[in-house]
C-alpha cells in the first residue's frame, strides 16, 4: 500500500540580526532550503513532480503566481501537481495534507513544500499604507493594527470570560524562550522572565511586545514521497496519520466567538478522527505561536485542556524544557524565528524531533505521534496534522 511520507526537511540559517545572509533573495532562500532538504531526503530536483508554495512575495500586478515563478526558477520539469493555497500562516499544513492526497492517489510522486521571506532585511512590514478593503475596511478606519490588534481583541475577551491574565500569557513567552536557548538557530536566546514580558512595551492591550512573535527573515522546505521508493530514503519515513483544515473569517469581527478557537476545534476533530487518536495519544505538539494568546486558545481548542482552563495548564513552566507538556521545542515564532508565515516550521521541528536530530533540545521521552497546528490570518483559518513514526 502506497503511503505518503515526509523524508526530508530544512530551515534557513538566520543571523544575529534575524536576517538571512546579505545577498540572499526570497527565491534563493527557497532554492537553498530545497537543495538541503532534498539532499537529506536522498532525492534530486529531477525527482520532484509536485510543488506547493505560499508566501508574502509575488509578481506585482497580475497576481502572485508563486507556483509558476518557482517552477521556472528551480527548473522543475512540468510538475503534475501545484498548490498555491494561501490561508495565511497556516498554509503549509494545508499544503501537506493536499500533497498527501495527491501522492496517495497517484497524481504525483515527490512533492516539495517551500517557503521563503526577506521581510526583515527588506523592511517590508509596513501596515499604514495598505488599502482599507473588503470586511477589514471598518477595522482599518478604526485604526486596528493588524494582526496584533485583532489578537488583542480575542485575548481581552478570553481574559474577561475565563479569568486568564497577563501572567498566563507571559508563561507561554517564557517557555518559548527557554526552548530557544537550546536551539543554535534561534534568533532570541537571552534570559526572559514573566516580569520581563508583563513589563515590556504595551502594544495593544492586553498584549505587550513580548507577547508578539518576532519579525525575521527565514525559509524552509519539506520533501514528501511515498513508501514504494523506501529503499532510496536516508531518513525513516514520517507518516501523516490524520489531518483537518478549515476557515471561518477574514476580519476578526466576523469570528463567531472571540474567546474560543472554533476553527482549531474543527480541524483537530477531523485530524483525531482520521488518525483514530485523541489528545492523550499525542507525545508532543508544535503549535503556531503568532502571539501568546494564540497558543493559549489553541491548547484549549486542540483538547489538551478544557476550554477556559489553559490558564492552569500553562502554569509553572509546563510548556517549557522542564514541563510535563513540552511544545514548540525550536523556540517557536516567539523566540526562534517568524518570517511572516510560520506553520512550515512546526512540521520541520516535529520531524527533527521524531528523527532524534534536535541536539540539546531533543525530548528525552519516546516520541511516536506529534501534532502540528497552524493558525492563519487573524485566528481565521486552521490546519492540524498528526505526524507519526508508525504507518497507517
Amino acid at each position: 500500500m502506497r503511503q505518503p511520507c515526509i523524508i526530508g526537511v530544512s530551515d534557513a540559517k538566520i543571523n544575529e540580526k534575524g536576517c538571512t545572509s546579505q545577498d540572499s533573495s526570497v527565491l534563493s532562500i527557497q532554492k537553498d532550503c530545497a537543495i538541503e532538504a532534498l539532499d537529506k531526503a536522498g532525492l534530486n530536483f529531477k525527482d520532484i513532480d509536485g510543488l506547493a508554495v505560499a508566501g508574502l512575495w509575488g509578481m506585482p500586478g497580475p497576481g502572485v503566481m508563486q507556483p509558476n515563478v518557482l517552477t521556472e526558477y528551480l527548473g522543475i520539469s512540468y510538475p503534475k501537481w501545484l498548490d498555491g493555497t494561501n490561508t495565511g500562516g497556516s498554509a503549509f499544513i494545508f499544503h501537506l495534507q493536499h500533497a498527501f492526497q495527491a501522492i496517495k492517489n497517484n497524481v504525483c510522486n515527490n512533492v516539495l513544500i517551500l517557503y521563503g521571506s526577506t521581510q526583515k532585511s527588506n523592511k517590508e512590514r509596513n501596515f499604514l499604507d495598505r488599502p482599507a478593503i473588503f470586511s477589514s475596511q471598518f477595522d482599518m478606519i478604526a485604526g486596528l493594527p493588524s494582526p496584533v490588534g485583532a489578537y488583542a481583541l480575542a485575548a481581552q475577551r478570553h481574559i474577561h470570560k475565563f479569568g486568564s491574565n497577563k501572567e498566563t500569557l507571559a508563561e507561554i513567552a517564557v517557555a518559548a524562550r527557554n526552548w530557544a536557548k537550546l536551539n543554535p538557530n534561534a534568533y532570541k536566546k537571552d534570559n526572559l522572565t514573566i516580569d520581563d514580558v508583563i513589563n515590556s512595551q504595551p502594544i495593544c492591550s492586553p498584549l505587550n511586545k513580548l507577547d508578539c512573535c518576532l519579525v525575521t527573515d527565514g525559509g524552509g522546505a519539506i520533501v514528501l514521497s511515498h513508501t514504494d521508493r523506501k529503499s532510496d530514503f536516508k531518513n525513516d519515513p514520517i507518516f501523516i496519520k490524520g489531518f483537518g483544515e478549515t476557515s471561518s473569517h477574514s476580519s476578526i469581527n466576523y469570528m463567531e466567538d472571540m474567546s474560543r478557537l472554533d476553527v482549531a476545534i474543527k480541524s483537530s476533530e477531523d485530524a483525531y478522527k482520521m488518525s483514530k487518536m485523541s489528545p492523550k495519544d499525542i507525545d508532543f505538539a508544535m503549535i503556531y505561536d503568532s502571539f501568546t494568546i494564540t497558543v493559549l486558545m489553541s491548547l484549549e481548542a486542540l483538547g489538551f485542556c478544557e476550554i477556559g482552563e489553559g490558564k492552569d495548564f500553562v502554569k509553572n513552566g509546563n510548556l517549557g524544557p522542564n514541563g510535563s507538556f513540552p511544545i514548540n521545542t525550536n523556540g517557536g515564532g516567539l523566540s526562534y524565528c517568524h518570517p511572516g508565515m510560520y506553520s512550515i516550521f512546526t512540521m520541520i521541528e516535529a520531524c527533527r524531533q521524531l528523527w532524534g536530530q534536535c541536539g540539546d533540545r531533543q525530548l528525552k521521552k519516546n516520541l511516536t505521534n506529534v501534532l502540528c497546528h497552524g493558525t492563519g490570518g487573524v485566528l481565521s483559518s486552521a490546519a492540524t496534522t498528526i505526524l507519526s513514526k508508525e504507518s497507517s
Binding site: 481581552q156 475577551r157 502594544i203 492591550s205 477574514s250 476580519s251
Partner: protein
C-alpha cells in the same frame, strides 16, 4: 490619509454615516441583520436584503487600547486610542472606536451609544461613547 475602498457592499454604510445614520443590512428572508459579510450572521449569501437604520445602541463585546498606530497614517499622532468591537442591539458586531477621556472606565459588557465622528472631508465614522 485614508485609503478606503468603498464598494457595493459598504457604500450605503458610508453614505449613511455622513448623514449621521448607522446603516445595517437586514435579510428579507429571516429578518436577521448583518454588515458587509454574512459569516456567522444566520443569513445566507443568496438572501435578499434591505438597508435599514440601526438604533445606535450596543454594548462592548471586546476592546483594545492601542499604543501603536494601525490601519492609517491618521493614527500616527493619536495613540493611545481605543478600538472596540461593539455588539449592536441588532445582534451585529461593528468595529469602531470608543471615545472616552477615561480609558480605565472601558470594560467588556458596558453599554455604548453611537457618536458620529468626522475623520476627514470624505469620512464620517460611527464611533461609540459609554452611556
Amino acid at each position: 490619509m485614508f485609503n478606503l475602498f468603498i464598494d457595493k457592499d459598504s457604500r450605503v454604510f458610508w453614505e449613511g454615516a455622513k448623514k449621521n445614520r448607522l446603516m445595517l443590512q437586514k435579510s428579507k428572508n429571516n429578518g436577521n441583520f448583518f454588515l458587509y459579510s454574512v459569516g456567522h450572521s444566520n443569513v445566507a449569501a443568496d438572501h435578499e436584503f434591505e438597508w435599514v437604520e440601526a438604533s445606535g445602541n450596543g454594548k462592548i463585546y471586546s476592546y483594545t487600547v492601542s499604543y501603536i498606530p494601525g490601519g492609517s497614517k491618521y493614527y500616527l499622532d493619536k495613540t493611545p486610542y481605543i478600538i472596540g468591537s461593539i455588539l449592536l442591539e441588532e445582534n451585529v458586531r461593528i468595529m469602531s472606536n470608543i471615545i472616552t477621556d477615561d480609558i480605565k472606565s472601558v470594560e467588556i459588557g458596558k453599554k455604548v451609544k453611537v457618536y458620529f465622528k468626522k475623520l476627514s472631508d470624505e469620512i464620517v465614522f460611527p464611533c461609540f461613547k459609554l452611556v
